[in-house]
Each structure stands twice: as structure tokens, then as C-alpha cells.
Point group: C2
Chain length 192, copies 2
DNA sequence: CAAATTTTAAAACAAATGTTTCAAAATAAA
DNA sequence: TTTATTTTGAAACATTTGTTTTAAAATTTG
């Protein structure tokens, strides 16, 4: 055998992710990345690969983080409608607190379907959220908290759409009240 | 005086806009632009300016087109709630028909508040839509078609958010039915 | 320790980037 | 028609881009 890899790959991916997350794919240069990761480009190409492969690793890392956080928070909740309301409030909170919009949303609008590999990762994340919301909606429906005549898939899609719009709103207006007002309105509408 | 400008500036801006709209700001090169515009870069710099100034012209052109189309369609409508429902259906239609997502949405997520000049243009467009929707909502409220206890600004923000989410959904799933289902659900919710 | 093998750092790479230069072409006014 | 002024096309510009090369450093195994 021979020399070992010096840098911590997880840590390096995390740093690269932060740069991609902020600047987007095209606007990020390899120098930006190696500076943040604190490794030489030869090491990067040697272990992870080129810019595109690095991005894939980063966005996978992002979605994994996100999914883990949600899984921790939404196991064993009091009632499904309570969980749902909390999810909505959490979304409002994350959107108005974090420095950047969702990395998947940014990537989706930047790539616009022209990169199947990225799309697979984003779709998997989207699907995870969708299934979680759908489950909460269905349970709320069977407990009579949400109109059972409405399709749970459609409502789940709908909620996701609203959240993505909130990211946009917050970039444009930086107005937390706008978001919390919409969140409250949305909850009222759902319970009708 | 002296030699006149040969190319049609409006036409050239239109062509440049199409490229920026599709590829985004960072991923578009000056060669991409001059190829599409069919002019030499010296002419471009001589008349319009650099890449950034050209982008501003393009996104202004985009919003002007959009605003004009909406103004034509939404003057003198039968009833405000009818106009509102039509607006929602039109949004669903545009989103599932056009080859790219809204140029303003793409620019917002790409730039993320780091470019005040772009932001001003996008905000003006957002404000136009907001005022139009707000007016329709207020009129629907006074006619008893929408709950008057809800704030019209919040509902207008909310509708805009949903539309933006639809763009995202359509990039990910290319499923028109998802969008029309959400549109129908949204209209039902609003009329409660 | 010596051999084998891999990672690293620094430099180099060609290609692409946004922008400018400059002479030739074009035209309105004198 | 000449003069003055501007636009154009082609080439050139310096940087920056993503990526590779090369030799030295490092470490496990024999």
C-alpha cells in the first residue's frame, strides 16, 4: 500500500456544498471550491472527480442533511394535523432564517431539466417530502381535520408549491411577516 | 453626422433575452449572445454595453412583454372572481406550455439578492402582479365571493407563491395534470 | 530499511471568458 | 465631393476557466 488521503472528505464536501449552495453551479469556479475545501485540485480530481461529480456529491449531502433533520423532528407527533401545522411553521422558519434558498430549488431553476443526474437527486428529495406530507394529510383526513373529498397527493403537491414560492418571496422582500401571514392563512384554509 | 446603427436593437434584445431566459445569467457567454443576436461584440458594447447591462435590458424586455399581455387580458372582466379564476387557469397554462420557467423567478434564485439592479426590475414586476391580484381579491371580497376577514395582501402574496411553486413542480415532473389539479383545488379553497 | 504505491503541491495546460483595439466601411452634413 | 463622425468586422487582449502533469512527499507492506 501507500500514502493515505490527508483531508477529511466529509468536511471538504460540506465546504464545497456551502459554496455551491450560495453561488449556484455555473457561477462557482474550481478555485472557489478548492479554496473553501482547502485542498489542491489534484487531490480533488484524484478522490472525488470533476466539477460535476463534486456537485452531485454536494447536493446529495444537502438532501441527506435535510431528510435527516425532518426524520428526527417528525417521528411520533401528537396528532397528524398538529404535525402538519408544525411542518408549515418550520418551513416558514427555515425559509426566513437561512442565508440561502433551498439548494434543490436553486439547482432546479438553474438546470431546468438539462441534467438528468442532478434531477434524480432533486426528485428523490421531492418525493421524500411528498410522501411525508401525503401521509400526514391522509391521517388528518381520516381524523376529520381536513376535507376527505380532496386528493391527498394534490394537497401535498400544493403545500410544496407554496413553500417554494415563499423562498422566492423572501429573496425579493426579506419580509418575515409576509411569510408568517401566509403560513397562518394556509393553515386556516386547510382546516376548512 | 455619420454611419447609422445597422441592426434592429429590439430584435437583438429579443434574441439575447431568449438565450438568457433559457440558460441563466452565469451560464450564458458573450459568444452565445452575439451569435444569437447576429451582431459583432464591438457593436454590442458600442450600443448596449456589457453583459450585465444587456441582461438588464433583456429582463426589462421580458417583464414589459409579460405586463402587456396581462393588461390586455385583464381589463373589463365580467366579475372579479371570474377574472381571478381565469388568472389562475392562465398561470397553469403558461407554466405547462412555455419551454422555460419564468425568467424573473430564475433570475431571483440565481442572483439571490446580490444584484440590486436586477432586483429592482424583478420587484417592479412582482409588484405589478401583486397589485392586480390584490384588486381582484378585494373586489371579490366585497361581492362576498371570498372571505372578507382575510387580508387581501396576504392572499395575493399567497397566490403568487403557489404559481412560483408550480414552475418548480413542472420542471421536476413535467406533469400538467398535477398543475391543473392544484389549480382546481386552489379555486375551491378560495371560494370557501 | 527498502520497495512499492499513492497523495500531494505547484506549475502548467489549452480553451473559454468578457472586453477592447483598430482599421476599414458607411453615411449625414458642409 | 469632401469632411467629419460613427459603426462595423476581425483580430487581439489579458484573465479566468476546468483540468492535467510532474516530481517530491508520505506511508504501508515485505
Amino acid at each position: 500500500m501507500a500514502r493515505l488521503v490527508e483531508f477529511d472528505e466529509e468536511q471538504a464536501i460540506q465546504k464545497a456544498m456551502e459554496v455551491f449552495w450560495k453561488k449556484g453551479y455555473a457561477a462557482t469556479s474550481m478555485r472557489d471550491l478548492t479554496d473553501a475545501m482547502q485542498i489542491n485540485s489534484s487531490s480533488l480530481y484524484n478522490t472525488i472527480g470533476d466539477k460535476h461529480q463534486l456537485f452531485i456529491r454536494c447536493i446529495k449531502h444537502y438532501t441527506k442533511m435535510r431528510i435527516r433533520a425532518v426524520e428526527q423532528r417528525y417521528t411520533n407527533f401528537a396528532s397528524p394535523i398538529q404535525a402538519l401545522e408544525n411542518f408549515i411553521k418550520d418551513a416558514a422558519d427555515i425559509i426566513t432564517t437561512e442565508p440561502n434558498s433551498c439548494m434543490c430549488v436553486k439547482a432546479t431553476f438553474e438546470i431546468e431539466g438539462d441534467d438528468p443526474e442532478i434531477q434524480v437527486v432533486v426528485n428523490a428529495y421531492d418525493d421524500f417530502t411528498h410522501q411525508l406530507l401525503k401521509g400526514l394529510i391522509e391521517n388528518s383526513q381520516s381524523q376529520g381535520e381536513i376535507d376527505s373529498s380532496e386528493n391527498a397527493d394534490t394537497i401535498a403537491d400544493y403545500l410544496t408549491s407554496v413553500f417554494i414560492g415563499w423562498y422566492n418571496s423572501f429573496v425579493l422582500h426579506k419580509d418575515r411577516t409576509k411569510i408568517t401571514n401566509m403560513a397562518a392563512f394556509m393553515i386556516r384554509q386547510l382546516r376548512h
